[in-house]
Structure formats: C-alpha cells, structure tokens
Symmetry: C2
Subunit: 156 residues, 2 copies
Amino acid sequence: MRIPQSLSGDGRLYLHDLTVGQRFTTRSHTLTKEEIVAFARLYDPQGFHLDEAEAENSLFEGLAASGWHTAAISMRLLVESGPRLAGGLVGTSGELSWPRPTRPGDTLHVETEVLEIRPSQSKPDRGIVAVRNLTLKQNGDVAQSFAVRLLVPQKP
Amino acid sequence: MRIPQSLSGDGRLYLHDLTVGQRFTTRSHTLTKEEIVAFARLYDPQGFHLDEAEAENSLFEGLAASGWHTAAISMRLLVESGPRLAGGLVGTSGELSWPRPTRPGDTLHVETEVLEIRPSQSKPDRGIVAVRNLTLKQNGDVAQSFAVRLLVPQKP
C-alpha cells in the first residue's frame, strides 16, 4: 500500500501532503471485447474499434479499444483507487499518448508519480501538481501516458 | 461545407490530399445534465460531475462534465462529421487541455486545423499529420483543445 496517510485528518491529501517522487498505484481492470465495442459505438464508431474482421485490415491489425476508452478506464481507476486528493482529481491540461493499443483481455492499472508541486501565485488556496499517470498492461507495457497538471487545494 | 473533395476517388483523404492550414468543422451536439451524470457514473464518479449541490461547493462552482466526456463527445463528432481520412482517425499522442468546464446545456462542435504534414521516414506507406482540434461552445469559448498527431496513409 503506497498511499500515504494524510496529515490532514479527513484522509484526503492537501498540497502540503504531497512530495515530488511520491507514487500511487490503482487496482486493475480487465477489458472485454463487448466493453470495447460498446464504448466505441457511443463515442468512437470506427471499424477497428467495432469489428474484428475490419480491425485485422487496419493500422491496428486487430480489434483495439478507442484511446478515449483507455483514458476513461484510467480515470475511473484513479478516482476509485488512486491518490485521494482533497478537492478531487481535477486536471487542467497535459500531454497524452497511446504508445500501443489496448486489446480485449488486457488488464490495466494506473501508476502515478508526482513530478512537480507549485503553489499558485495568484490563488493562495491552491497549487498545481504535475503528475505522470502511466496506464500499464499486465506485462508492464504502457497503454497510455498522461502527464497532467492537477489543481490541489491548500489545507484551509 | 469546408471539407474538400478528395482527389482519391473513394471520398477519403490520403496524405497528399491534406494541406497545412486546411480546416474542417463538425456538426454540433448539446449535452444534457442526464448525459453528464451517466458518463460520470461509469468513468469519473466524482461529486462535481454527479450532483449539483456538491458541485456548487467544488472548484467547478456548478455541475461540470468530466473532461473525458468532453473528449469522448469531441471524438464522436469528429468521426461522424470531421475530416474523412483514409485509414480513419488514429491519434498517437498530443497536448490536451480543458480551459473551462463543459456545462449542462452547452452545445459543442469541433474545429480542426492542419498544422503540419510529415511523411514517415521509416514507413513509406504513411505520414504523421499534426492537427489542432478545438471543441467550442455555442458562444465560441474553448471547452477543449487537443493538438494531436494522426497517422494518415499514403495513397496506395
């Protein structure tokens, strides 16, 4: 269990509870083909996310989850079992990449590392925390990397 | 209608059909509160995406869609009415930001601009096209910016 005890009493982490290099790990989630197709129907209806035969003849060379599906699952894992930040997980911007496709049967979890902590100049009640969230497969391959700036409150 | 005729016969755009500065515009989609809450329940179950009263007391100061919901809707708009690229819309990485929250009742559409076109050195059958996708609200405010590198096939 790598999530530190909060010093803040309510179990949530404020800006001063975070340190550069701190790491967090979520639980994991295994994707089914049905889940991949259902997400794609709603948000990314392209053949390589919907149909195995079409996917074979695409750049993906096989059925692949929408990158946004990988992103959405990563978010759910973080909300449910990632760092318990005071104020919640609120990202403003970041660098997103999908080095390889997520496939049916892949088991994903997210590892977070704190990269930088910066109190806000203009708003003394908060700071910006840069973290890297890596969404990893069962074999350690990176399915998604999101280096994101989060808004984190100062302890009142 | 700003989508150019393809020179390629099948109505799909190959690498040589694209030019820097080219623009595309999607149709629009209006979000309901119910949609925002349903997406959040599945992928981003935080109070400020689920409950109006909780949202009032959060950094968002009112119910806000998950950024991943804005991203997913933007993708659907692009797939259904954005640039009809040969090979589909396949992004590999990019810079993502949410300058302001998406709210219930907001009407979103996506405007795409081609920023850079680069044939692949290692794989002569494709190239990398950098585009900026801006997800805009009814009043022109930017809900999301995604500057993304897309894989686009060369004409066979």
